[in-house]
């Protein structure tokens, strides 16, 4: 037992290399790219309860006919709080339709959170068990999808939407969608 073989001593670095390999893979893949199979495909069909008491059931129909920002959030999520003022401003001063997906949350916590910090959402889908989130390939909160009037996903923002992200990245996409629908 006093002499461990070289092979045993190589175990830690082997484990580390495997982990580093996964990290390198994680870097190589741009997390904000939606999986190729999802681009321009319609959103998966869904039927989920609304978060608010009077919201009833919300289906994929809610995303048809108008361009919407689908924002995945939770009351447990710090970065959601960080992007919240931006969403509040968008809701107040633009006509973008913002649909919330309240993800992995407790209904009361979410309602309290919205009451406390303001509610920018037209509709809120309550997705406690990740049913829609898994279909969308959500990896964390916040994430925001730009969905065109035909219900197709056009863009996915991973992490908070800042004023800069909205101006530089999302606005051009919204304009492009608008131009298409005017054709």
């Amino acid at each position: 037992m006093s002499q461990t073989s070289l092979w045993t001593r190589l175990v830690p670095i082997a484990v580390f290399l495997v982990i580093a390999g996964f990290f390198a893979y994680g870097l190589s893949r741009d997390p904000s790219k939606i999986p190729t199979e999802m681009i321009d495909r319609p959103l998966p069909d869904f039927e989920l309860p609304g978060l608010r008491d009077d919201e009833g059931v919300i289906s994929d129909e809610v995303l048809r006919g108008q361009t919407s920002l689908v924002n995945v959030f939770g009351s447990w999520c710090v970065a959601c709080l960080q992007e919240h003022p931006t969403l509040m401003r968008l809701a107040a001063s633009t006509d973008v339709k913002i649909v919330g997906v309240n993800w992995r949350d407790d209904r009361q916590d979410a309602l309290t959170w919205l009451q406390r910090h303001g509610d920018p959402y037209e509709r809120i889908i309550f997705d406690a068990d990740s049913e829609l989130a898994i279909e969308l390939g959500v990896t964390g909160a916040p994430e925001t999808f730009v969905v065109d009037p035909n219900g197709r996903i056009r863009f996915k923002q991973v992490g908070p939407i800042t004023e800069k992200v909205f101006k530089d990245t999302i606005t051009p996409i919204l304009k492009a969608i608008e131009a298409e629908s005017n054709e």
Binding site: R9, D109, H117, I134, T139, A141
Partner: protein
């Protein structure tokens, strides 16, 4: 001009880091005393330059110098002074500046406090510290320059999100970084020991205070984060198993294991290789945390601006430092002896179990955190791991850890018999079972009862062991000289008792919150009430008032318990006309045994108002216990055997003499 000075200071610091590395490592190799002195001076000069650069950056924030891009994008003239200052590290570049400064300061501290060490070991460790530090300074200089100028100069900055302007959030990063970066000292000493191919009890004795220091700071940092999450995020949550929380928790768990293995290493000369491996692992996990938070491989809550280039750089830093250290471990650790043997019934064996549990716990958290990434890499599926995974895996491991935690300190080093402590254990078990039964009877919960039973078991074991150190109950010890016996006990003993009792306190808090927290919501009119857990919240009055940029409707809620008034809360609902935004400001009634919280929603005198009330039993115990652990660490640090307070009298522990 000042910003340019800062940038030049950083560049010189980078060069000095390389000088420090070369002179330290090579100087030790050729046993050149002068080269080693150069390494010392480079370490101190590097620290001074980093402090200068940090000071210049902070002053740019404080003076709102918007010609510096970082200030313009992260600050604002109307921000309160404290948040202007803390804004320095509330962004990627500035937080890196803080990291680099702390790292350089630790390097200088190694020079300062390392006078009693063997010259070669010390020079090598300082060299490694310089090398890792240089890597981070290079990261800043080449990919994340905080001093970049902006032209034209804007009139005002973009500001910091007001929600993030919070005292808890302002002071939590420095503590976290003191912890993360503090573990670099243990790492550097581990690598230095591997280069030398030799470790002894002296080595462990020297590394241990640095581990204690880093661990205590990290404990405070994590706790502050948890407190902030509690009052700023969803009500009732104090830990969310979010990737960013997990990456700070992993070095803490590994660091806790390291803390205990150095204890064996310094006292018994055993566990040497394992301790080296843990020292490397702990700091590596700090690096992994930095990588995950800044690279965007996992979407995380604080996520700084994500940039794959930065991710690559940190991954390279991680590969070079951890990979290099582990390669060295594979090649060199064969020469390091396993140390003195021990029996199953010994404190060493108890600490082996402690280490196994903590490492398994670390691995569990790591797996849960990295699992989405692994699955994505292997199958292309996108998945997430939720809190239930962590709760189901983590709680049993921690419970088992607590079981051993109460016993191990009672057992002697090297060899002991279970029969010697059998009677004590039986009494403790009896107490714990009584606590379980009482909790089941009163609280009507099985899992909660187990949790409380474990806490009682831990408190009992810790107190008995502490009491024995104080010689309470021994024939010769009179009560009168108890203060004296208290004073002569080593700091580590007080620290041990405080930290272990702290964990018991935290456990009680966690368990209570888990099983007895309650909430209620109702629409009530004036004079009506809504109750939770026996507390009646009576809505007495609703008044209006005008704030700076909002109007508010304030409720006056009186809380009664069995007809006795226990407090009054004034929750508000605010309307911001400009932003067309409504927010709720809840109000809390805090006592040691519970936090009561009320929030008032919209309503009218006719229909009543929606009032939400919460009862959070013992929630503050979670943090009180955590602070006890941190202060336990600081207490141990004051242990005279480390030679911080006075110089050590013995330089080597003779085998067979118990260290306690």
């Amino acid at each position: 001009m000042l910003a340019e000075i800062g940038q030049i200071a950083l560049m010189i610091a980078l060069l000095l880091g390389l000088v420090q590395a070369w002179m330290g490592l090579h100087g030790a190799h050729i046993a050149d005393r002068r080269a080693m002195i150069v390494a010392d001076r480079a370490a101190i000069a590097q620290a001074l330059l980093c402090v200068l650069a940090f000071g210049l950056l902070a002053s740019a924030f404080v003076m709102s110098d918007f010609s510096v891009k970082l200030v313009a994008t992260n600050s604002h003239t109307t921000k309160p002074m404290i948040y202007k200052f803390s804004g320095t590290w509330a962004n990627h570049e500035g937080s890196l500046m803080l990291w680099v400064m702390i790292m350089a300061l630790f390097g200088a501290a190694m020079v300062w406090f390392g006078k009693t060490l063997p010259a070669a070991l010390r020079a090598r460790a300082i060299g490694v510290q310089g090398l890792v530090g240089a890597g981070f300074v290079a990261f800043m200089v080449f990919t994340s320059n905080p001093f970049e100028r902006l032209s034209p100069i804007p009139n005002n900055g973009l500001g910091l999100n007001p929600l993030l302007q919070d005292p808890g959030l302002a002071i939590h990063p420095p503590f976290l970084y003191l912890g993360y970066v503090g573990f670099s000292v243990a790492f550097s000493f581990a690598v230095a020991a591997l280069i030398e191919g030799r470790v002894d009890a002296m080595w462990a004795r020297w590394v241990r205070p640095w581990v204690l220091l880093a661990w205590s700071f990290l404990t405070i940092g994590i706790t502050l984060g948890s407190v902030w999450a509690y009052y700023e995020l969803g009500w009732g949550g104090w830990w969310f198993w979010d990737p960013v929380e997990n990456v700070s928790f992993m070095p803490w768990l590994a660091g806790t294991a390291l803390l205990h293995s150095t204890l064996v290493a310094q006292s018994r000369g055993s566990f040497m290789r394992w301790t080296l491996l843990l020292a490397i692992t702990t700091f590596s996990l700090s690096l992994v945390g930095t990588f995950i938070v800044r690279s965007g491989v996992l979407t995380s809550v604080h996520a700084f601006a994500v940039d794959p280039e930065r991710g690559k750089f940190i991954l390279m830093l991680l590969a070079a430092s951890t990979g290099g250290a582990l390669l060295l471990y594979a090649l060199r650790s064969g020469r390091i002896s396993h140390g003195a043997p021990f029996r199953m019934a010994s404190r060493e064996a108890g600490l082996v179990l402690n280490n196994i549990m903590l490492v398994v716990a670390t691995a569990t958290v790591f797996l849960g955190t990295a699992y989405p990434l692994i699955i994505d890499a292997l199958t292309g599926d996108k998945i997430t791991v939720g809190p239930p995974y962590f709760e189901y895996t983590f709680a049993p491991i921690m419970s088992l850890l607590i079981v051993f935690m109460a016993v191990a300190p009672l057992v002697k080093w090297r060899t002991d018999t279970f029969s010697r402590i059998g009677r004590t254990l039986l009494i403790l078990a009896g107490l714990a079972i009584a606590a379980v039964l009482a909790t089941m009877l009163l609280g009507k919960t099985f899992l909660g009862a187990i949790g409380i039973g474990l806490a009682v078991w831990l408190i009992g074991g810790t107190l008995v062991s502490y009491g024995r150190k104080l010689r309470i109950g021994e024939a010769k010890s009179a009560i009168g000289n108890l203060p004296k016996r208290f004073a002569i006990l080593p700091g580590a003993t007080h620290g041990f008792a405080l930290a272990h009792l702290g964990l018991a306190v935290t456990t009680i808090g966690i368990v209570s919150m888990g099983v007895w927290s309650d909430e209620n919501v109702d629409r009530i009119k004036l004079g009506e009430s809504v109750s939770v857990a026996g507390y009646e919240f009576i809505l007495k009055d609703v008044t209006s008032r005008q704030g700076d940029n909002y109007s508010a409707e304030t409720g006056k809620i009186v809380i009664e318990n069995n007809g006795r008034i226990v407090g009054q809360l004034n929750p508000e609902q605010r309307t911001y006309p400009v932003e067309r935004n409504n927010t709720t400001e809840g109000a809390m009634e805090i006592s040691l045994l519970r936090i009561l919280y009320a929030a008032k929603g919209e309503g009218t005198p006719e229909d009543g108002w929606i009032v939400r009330v919460y009862y959070h039993p013992m929630v503050s115990w979670i943090w009180i216990g955590a602070f006890m652990m941190a202060f336990g660490g600081f207490f141990s640090l004051a242990d005279r055997r480390f030679g911080f307070v006075t110089k050590p009298k013995v330089t080597r522990v003779p085998a067979g003499i118990p260290a306690e």
